[in-house]
């Protein structure tokens, strides 16, 4: 009798988790990235070149500007065929076609030749308070300010890591919030499951909710943000991470102790021994989890 009620409940919990996870995971892996470097005919990087990718299917365009190293990156492009146009002042425009597959990262480099009739840089007559004109050859440049190359150089790899971090963090946050629903429900249904004669329905509901909480919790933990080299944790995130040392082990212990308590009850006896710690451990775990959640959501 007990086995017949438990199996559908487990399937229901599995289905619920799949249902909850599906929207979070669906968004990944369908968008493509186009990146590359723009140089002149001598191989020197061209900064501030305009790169546009126009979808041949929809006509929509995405644009980017090259940085000081001449590199550009167009992310989150829908897969398909694109016409890529690269232009820069005083240089010939280059147009090419590329095909982006779903989730692919394609490199499109462009070497722009100097226009035969390109005007040479002439000292500009100063105009009153008109900074938006192209800077004259006397205006200070970024190199004049003495920044090191490591400070001014584009780092596309780090940008990819940061993008990945944000995607994972969003899933981590959403799953963390969703986890609170079965967690609170499990705490609510725990009020009478420890009594001498609890109903089978309440115990089963409590078990399902506890299992769903643990599953969602560990899925959320899997999507925690990856470390970015060279950064140190500061602010509320330190407290958030510290709380994980409490709710992490708690989330492992609570189901084990719960299973022991469930087994003892099924044998018709009272909950005894280490299994009696199930309730207190669960409450401490939920408290640490809530504190971790609030620490990054609200300002104390």
């Amino acid at each position: 009798m007990r086995e017949r009620t438990a199996k559908p409940a487990v399937w229901a919990a599995v289905l619920m988790i799949i249902f909850l996870l599906a929207p979070c995971l669906r968004a990944q892996g369908t968008e493509a990235t186009l990146s590359g470097k723009v140089t002149d005919s001598l191989g020197a990087a061209v900064a501030n070149a305009r790169v546009s990718a126009k979808s041949l299917a929809t006509g929509q365009s995405a644009e980017a500007q090259t940085d000081l190293a001449g590199t550009y990156r167009l992310a989150k492009l829908p897969p398909g065929e694109y016409e890529v146009t690269v232009s820069a002042e005083g240089l010939a425009t280059k147009i090419g076609n590329v095909t982006l597959a779903a989730g692919a990262s394609l490199t499109f480099n462009a070497a722009l030749s100097v226009l035969p009739s390109a005007p040479q840089a002439q000292p500009q007559a100063p105009t009153n308070n008109a900074p938006n004109a192209p800077p004259s050859n006397r205006a200070p440049s970024l190199e004049d300010l003495g920044f090191s190359p490591s400070e001014t150089k584009s780092n596309p790899k780090e940008q990819v890591l940061l993008d990945k971090r944000t995607r994972m963090l969003k899933i981590h946050q959403r799953l963390g919030l969703i986890t609170t629903i079965p967690m609170i429900a499990a705490l609510v249904t725990s009020s009478d499951v420890g009594e001498t004669n609890p109903s089978n329905t309440n115990r089963t509901a409590h078990m399902i909710l506890g299992s769903a909480t643990a599953d969602l919790y560990f899925t959320s933990a899997y999507f925690r943000a990856p470390r970015v080299p060279g950064t140190k944790s500061r602010g509320p995130i330190r407290f958030h991470k510290a709380m994980a040392w409490i709710h992490g082990p708690g989330m492992i212990l609570t189901p084990i102790l719960g299973a022991l308590a469930y087994s003892q009850k099924n044998k018709g006896g009272d909950i005894h021994g280490i299994a009696k710690a199930h309730g207190p451990v669960a409450i401490v775990t939920a408290g640490a989890f809530a504190a971790a959640l609030l620490s990054v959501s609200l300002k104390f």
């Binding site: 501030n48 980017a64 500007q65 940085d67 000081l68 590199t71 550009y72 990156r73 100063p126 009153n128 308070n129 008109a130 900074p131 938006n132 004109a133 800077p135 004259s136 006397r138 205006a139 200070p140 440049s141 970024l142 004049d144 300010l145 003495g146 920044f147 400070e151 001014t152 150089k153 584009s154 780092n155 596309p156 780090e158 940008q159 890591l161 940061l162 993008d163 971090r165 944000t166 963090l169 919030l177 943000a225 970015v228 950064t231 140190k232 944790s233 500061r234 602010g235 509320p236 995130i237 958030h240 990054v296 959501s297 609200l298 300002k299």
Partner: protein
């Protein structure tokens, strides 16, 4: 210095050489800057508003220079995006991601001002700002000036917005931040 050359009686050939040398080098001196401004200290603060909280990020890492010619000064101020600190590393990394700070690591501000503006109490500058791979222009941004000796202190607010740089507003608990991200500027310059 070559004393023998100075004290010796110069031949016409030597004088012609010296004159030629003077002609060659003089234009370079004439073309040199009339003067320049150097940024000594700076505090740049961005302000982000969200229904649940207000956030500020501060940077003291800006460097700047102004080069003056013919009564006009071209200014450039640059600051690494990474240098802004909000007191929360998680938020700073998120800011770095949404602003493409690893790909476009510098924020640059360019402006040109009349040289005699440094004596005014308020200046109105047209700014060209490059940030997150985009360029935005701000017309007639007001800044207050106070001078003490050779130092000039500038304070003001740049009315920047996320949409000016095509930055998607980040969200917290599904609520997006406000589009306006005013940047408060405090800078101390000295003239060389």
């Amino acid at each position: 210095m070559n004393w023998e050359f100075v004290n010796a009686k110069r031949s016409p050939k030597q004088l012609a050489s010296a004159f030629l040398l003077l002609l060659l080098t003089l234009p370079q001196y004439l073309a040199a800057a009339d003067g320049q401004w150097i940024l000594d200290q700076s505090t740049l603060t961005y302000h982000v508003s969200h229904p649940l909280r207000q956030t500020e990020g501060v940077s003291h890492a800006a460097r700047g220079k102004g080069v003056c010619h013919d009564g006009q000064c071209d200014f450039l101020v640059a600051v690494p995006v990474k240098s802004f600190d909000s007191g929360d590393s998680n938020r700073d990394l998120h800011m770095l991601q949404v602003t493409k700070g690893a790909e476009f690591p510098m924020v640059t501000v360019r402006t040109r001002l009349p040289e005699n503006d440094s004596k005014a109490a308020t200046i109105y500058a047209d700014l060209e700002i490059q940030f997150a791979g985009q360029t935005a222009h701000y017309k007639q941004a007001a800044f207050q000036l106070t001078s003490q000796g050779s130092e000039t202190r500038i304070t003001g607010t740049i009315p920047a917005a996320l949409s000016d740089f095509k930055i998607e507003p980040p969200t917290l608990l599904t609520l997006p931040v406000k589009n306006e991200i005013p940047i408060h500027v405090e800078m101390t310059w000295h003239r060389q």
